[in-house]
């Protein structure tokens, strides 16, 4: 994974293929009629099976970058390639398909549907994609995050850490190539947060899933293979371990 703020990407040192590549990506929003550049000429490549942490102050563009990488949004200029496919070449249905198959999301506030049971929450991405055997896959994932016994509980019957583990199981249920995590420990105490980080690290190591995580936490950043520091929508520094 290479980066250079405001410049063309450099080639990766290894020959591992990239899951996501961003090429001079700009994302502008309009706020009160004025353009606001949330991401400003970022070039990045995330190799398969790597754990990348995005750090920086609030509003520096971390979440916007996650959304661009996760095919949730189109760049204003530049190109985002997800598993080799440029997102700008896809229509809304194409982006949806891409998300269903390649991307999993983990949120700071867990975002479980309160009306569905734990196992139903986990199987939801597969059901939305119209896949068979969703229940079996959901139970497997719950077993993986060690919550198999809680499948029939409702979200409000779980602790914060358990909820985030369910959210992780849900993000993994369709075997995505890329996992995007936005402040996954932001709503958890430090002990529980550590457990979640360990779990995320395990995913990358055991499942070979790429992870792009936006975080304020130094502990979280310390677990990553690559640390990308962002400032004012640009990549300020890249630290590889």
């Amino acid at each position: 994974m290479n980066s250079a703020p405001g410049s063309a990407p450099r080639k990766a040192a290894s020959e591992i293929p990239s899951v996501v590549s961003l090429d001079n990506v700009v994302k502008e929003y309009r706020s009160e009629g004025l353009p606001v550049r949330a991401v400003d000429g970022v070039s990045l490549e995330i190799a398969a099976g790597s754990f990348v942490a995005l750090v920086g102050r609030s509003g520096c563009g971390k979440s916007t970058l996650l959304n661009l990488a996760g095919a949730m949004d189109f760049p204003t200029s530049g190109e985002v390639r997800l598993d080799g496919v440029a997102t700008t070449s896809l229509d809304d249905a194409g982006l949806t398909r891409m998300r269903r198959e390649k991307v999993g999301f983990i949120f700071q506030s867990f975002q479980l549907l309160p009306t569905l049971s734990v196992v139903e929450n986990v199987e939801l991405p597969l059901l939305l994609a119209g896949k068979n055997n969703a229940r079996v896959a959901a139970h497997e994932r719950l077993a993986w995050v060690e919550l198999e016994s809680l499948g029939n509980r409702m979200p409000h019957q779980l602790s914060g850490g358990q909820m985030q583990r369910v959210a992780i199981a849900r993000a993994l249920v369709h075997d995505p190539k890329l996992l995007l995590a936005d402040e996954p420990t932001g709503n958890l105490d430090s002990t529980t947060g550590d457990l979640i980080l360990t779990l995320l690290r395990r995913i990358v190591t055991e499942q070979k899933t790429s992870m792009l995580m936006a975080t304020h936490s130094t502990e979280a950043a310390a677990l990553s293979d690559v640390l990308v520091k962002m400032r004012d929508g640009r990549v300020a520094e890249v630290i590889r371990r």
Binding site: G70, R99, E120, L124, P125, L128
Partner: protein, 842 residues
């Protein structure tokens, strides 16, 4: 001032952020208020027109002398020669049709010479001077609204003949409320075939002694069959007769308002749920519980005020249409009436405003009190409210059961002062039972069928059912509103459908003749123009005619209510007629009892209204005598709510020797050709204005009148459904706003926009299905209350229950489709949400 500012900022301003939803809620209230106001205004206008032209044309009389079949001229002479200082004004009154315009107007015969001193017809008329010549009183004087000019010719249809009359003068008919034709008494008697008698005599008596004493004195001086009553009694009778009809219509008009109340409840509930955090903050900052309560009631009042103002304007517009429908019904079923002007008075406006605002505030009381009870800490806890709703399901089901039992028990007591108050109370209890049972029913059904829904509808079915369970309170209120409207549709539809089928079956028995004849002109239950009996004799002798029934009808008053006294040729029709009687006896047995006796059959509505039964006796004024009649049976009858008293023609002629029949029914001989007989009949009646109806045409005309009568009930039902569906649309919009984060999340998890749209539409469809299910069940229960309690106690008709399957299936499907359509716009809003924004907003 500062409180008003806070109220504006915290309550009013947020309403403008969702203009469509706010508008839908206001419109729901507006429609409810409009319907109530429209029915009230139209009812007043229709009922206010009963004051007859006879009374208004010279309005200072005190008493009216009448008799069945007319007051003999001799009685007028008796009155004029009594040793009292009373003014005597004989009157002929009937209806004529102005042929050119087709308008039916009252015809009044007055003694133009005798009343020349104070008749406005004479004094104001601007016609020729011939009135000063007592020898020439031919022609007519017409009201100005008929737009005829003095000296012109006007063609009038009365009884069975049409003739040209010279317009002798035109007078201002503003006080009469519409066109009136006046003739001299003698001319009117001649033209209507009433020589030797008048229809009534108006009396002006001295102030002392009191009116009651005058009534007694005159009663003593006149023959027993002559009735003396206070002027305006007939108007009161008509209004009393119409009271039940107006009362039921008014109750029906409140349904749309009730549905609107559900929606106000929902809107304020949503508002409270959304602002729980705000409630916590303002409570923490020092707001009292009373202030929170006042704020939410104030929000409801805002909806109420806006809705009521709009509703008043809309109500005035709807009143015009409602008056047309009401007048047609009143004319066909009750009494000849001329709709009065629709008067939007301050009182009616104030009442409508009060109803709209009051209903809104009452509907908001429960959620507003709940908001006021919340402690600041509790206000921050999300989901508590729904949890409460879940926890109360069992208790609510028990209360619902209690209410349902109460509802059933309320069907037992009799009417109070002619009003089926317990019947209404039963309906209210059943609606309450249904509303309380809905959370339990909805929860059970959605839980039980969520897997099935998922199999049929995909993941959207699962999500929709779980979402509806998750917000059970909101779901229940929406289902409650729509199911109330559906229940009313089902029950009124079943009642009307059953009634229609009952009337059709009744007509199959009752209308056995092949041809029916009646004088041309407008049909009304209190107008009985006649056909010359000699003509009837001619028809009876025609080849192919096996039987002829000469039916004569008189409009009478019995115990303060109008009724129709009739006589039929039972001996002539005995082999043909198959009237059905409550006793179950055969028609021929009953007809045998009627012949050669002072015996009558009364119709079911008449018997119920006056608490009479087979074997009782009634006394009727017949000419100059009071005659006691034995009730030999009670007949099923659906022709008039006022009711019939029917005797044999021979009996009637013994007391009222006027042989001219009002209607004729011809039975053709077996083997005779109907068209040939009809041609013969047409030839025989040439020169008379008489209408001929075949059996099929008469039935079809009767059914048309029936359908027109109930058109207004259908209109009210449709408005209730519209209000409910608008509420669903508004509530779904609120739901989209409240669950935008969930929809955004689903997009993150791979949901396509089409899946989000489908999810909303499935939710809308499930609400529609639940409402149809609950509403249909409640509607069936209500239809039994309507048919067997409210209808029976109000109108006295026995209605056999029939399922109007096609109408009900079509209506329920229509409601279901409408509900899904109501979800289209909210679904579009949901699809247009930016998932990134909504998922990350806190």
């Amino acid at each position: 001032m500062s409180r008003a500012l806070l109220f504006y900022r915290l309550i009013v301003r947020p309403l403008f952020r969702e203009p469509l939803r706010t508008a839908l809620t206001v419109l729901a209230v507006a429609l409810g208020v409009a319907v109530v106001l429209a029915i009230d205004l139209a009812g007043n206008a229709a009922a206010g027109s009963f004051r007859s032209s006879v009374e208004t044309l010279m309005g200072d009389s005190d008493l009216e002398v009448t008799s069945t079949g007319g007051v003999p001229d001799a009685v007028v002479g008796t009155l004029a020669t009594l040793p009292y200082s009373i003014r005597v004004r004989p009157r002929i009154q009937d209806f004529v049709t102005v042929v050119d315009s087709g308008q039916t107007v009252p015809l009044i015969g007055i003694d133009l010479i005798g009343e020349a001193a104070d008749s406005q017809v004479v004094s104001v008329s601007n016609g020729d001077e011939t009135l000063k010549n007592p020898g020439d009183l031919e022609g007519v004087w017409v009201g100005s609204s008929l737009r005829a000019k003095p000296g012109a010719t006007i063609r009038l249809l009365m009884n069975d003949h049409t003739r040209d009359y010279r317009v002798r003068g035109v007078f201002d008919d503003t006080a009469e409320g519409g066109g009136v034709v006046v003739m001299d008494m003698a001319a009117a008697q001649r033209e209507l075939g009433r020589v030797g008698r008048v229809d009534s005599v108006l009396l002006k008596v001295p102030d002392d002694p009191p009116l009651a004493e005058w009534q007694k004195r005159l009663g003593d001086a006149l023959p027993a069959g002559i009735v003396t009553r206070a002027i305006g009694s007939r108007t009161s009778e008509n209004q009393r007769m119409l009271a039940a009809f107006r009362w039921n219509l008014r109750v029906l008009s409140y349904i749309a308002l009730l549905v609107g109340a559900f929606l106000i409840y929902n809107t304020v509930s949503v508002s409270v749920v959304r602002r729980r955090a705000e409630i916590g903050i303002v409570r923490a900052l020092g707001a009292s519980r009373g202030a929170v309560l006042a704020a939410f009631l104030g929000e409801a009042a805002c909806f109420g005020i806006a809705g009521a103002v709009l509703g008043c304007a809309l109500g005035r517009v709807l009143a015009t249409g409602a008056l047309k429908l009401l007048s047609a019904t009143v004319q066909a079923l009750y009494v000849s009436s001329r709709p009065g002007a629709i008067e939007l008075t301050f009182t009616s406006l104030a009442a409508a405003m009060l109803i709209g605002i009051g209903m809104s505030i009452v509907a908001a009381l429960s959620p507003a009190s709940e908001a006021a009870r919340v402690s600041p800490m509790e206000a921050m806890a999300r989901g508590q409210r729904e949890y409460t709703a879940r926890m109360n399901k069992g208790r609510d089901m028990l209360i619902a059961l209690g209410l349902a039992v109460g509802g059933v028990m309320c069907t037992v007591p009799h009417a109070i002062a002619g009003k089926p108050l317990f019947g209404y109370f039963s309906a209210i209890l059943l609606i309450g039972a249904s509303a309380l049972a809905i959370p339990g029913i909805a929860d059970y059904l959605l839980q039980a069928f969520s897997k099935l829904l998922q199999r049929i509808m995909g993941v959207e079915g699962l999500l929709a059912s779980r979402s509806l369970i998750g917000s059970l309170r909101r779901t229940s209120v929406l289902v409650g509103a729509l199911s109330t409207a559906v229940a009313m549709m089902t029950s009124v539809g079943s009642m009307v459908g059953s009634f229609r089928q009952t009337v059709t079956s009744w007509m199959d028995n009752q209308l056995q003749a092949d041809l029916y004849l009646r004088p041309a002109g407008t049909v009304a239950s209190d107008q009985h123009p006649t056909i010359p009996n000699a003509l009837a004799d001619t028809l009876a002798r025609l080849p192919g005619v096996a039987g002829l029934d000469r039916f004569r009808a008189y409009d009478i008053s019995y115990e303060g209510f109008p009724a129709t006294l009739g006589a039929a040729d039972f001996h002539a029709v005995q082999p043909f007629k198959k009237s059905a009687f409550l006793s179950g006896r055969s028609a021929s047995d009953v007809y045998d009892d009627l012949q050669n006796h002072d015996a009558v059959v009364v119709s079911e509505p008449f018997a119920n209204k006056h608490h009479l039964k087979r074997g009782d006796f009634i006394t009727l004024p017949m000419g100059e005598r009071q005659v006691r009649f034995h009730i030999v049976d009670v007949s099923y009858d659906y022709a008039s709510e006022a009711g019939y008293i029917v005797m044999d023609r021979a009996t009637l002629l013994r007391y009222l020797p006027d042989p001219d029949p009002s209607n004729l029914a011809i039975y053709i001989a077996s083997g005779a050709d109907l068209e040939t007989v009809r041609a013969e009949v047409e030839k025989a009646i040439a020169g008379h204005d008489i209408l001929i109806f075949s059996n099929r045409t008469l039935r079809s005309e009767a059914i048309q009148i029936f359908d027109r009568t109930f058109a207004i009930t259908y209109a009210l039902e449709v408005i209730s459904i519209i209000v409910a569906v608008m509420g669903i649309a508004g509530a779904l919009l609120a739901l989209v706003v409240d669950r935008r984060r969930e929809f955004g999340l689903l997009r993150f998890l791979g949901a396509a926009t089409s899946q989000i749209r489908k999810l909303i539409l499935v939710e809308a469809g499930l609400i529609g299905l639940l409402a149809n299910l609950v509403g249909f069940t409640l509607g069936v229960a209500l239809s039994f209350v309507l048919i067997y309690v409210i209808n029976k106690q109000s109108f006295g008709w026995t209605i056999q229950f029939h399922w109007p399957t096609a109408v009900l299936a079509g209506s329920l499907l229509g409601v279901f489709i409408s509900t899904i359509l109501a979800g289209l716009y909210p679904a579009q809003i949901a699809v247009g949400l930016n998932p990134i924004e909504v998922v990350h907003e806190e």
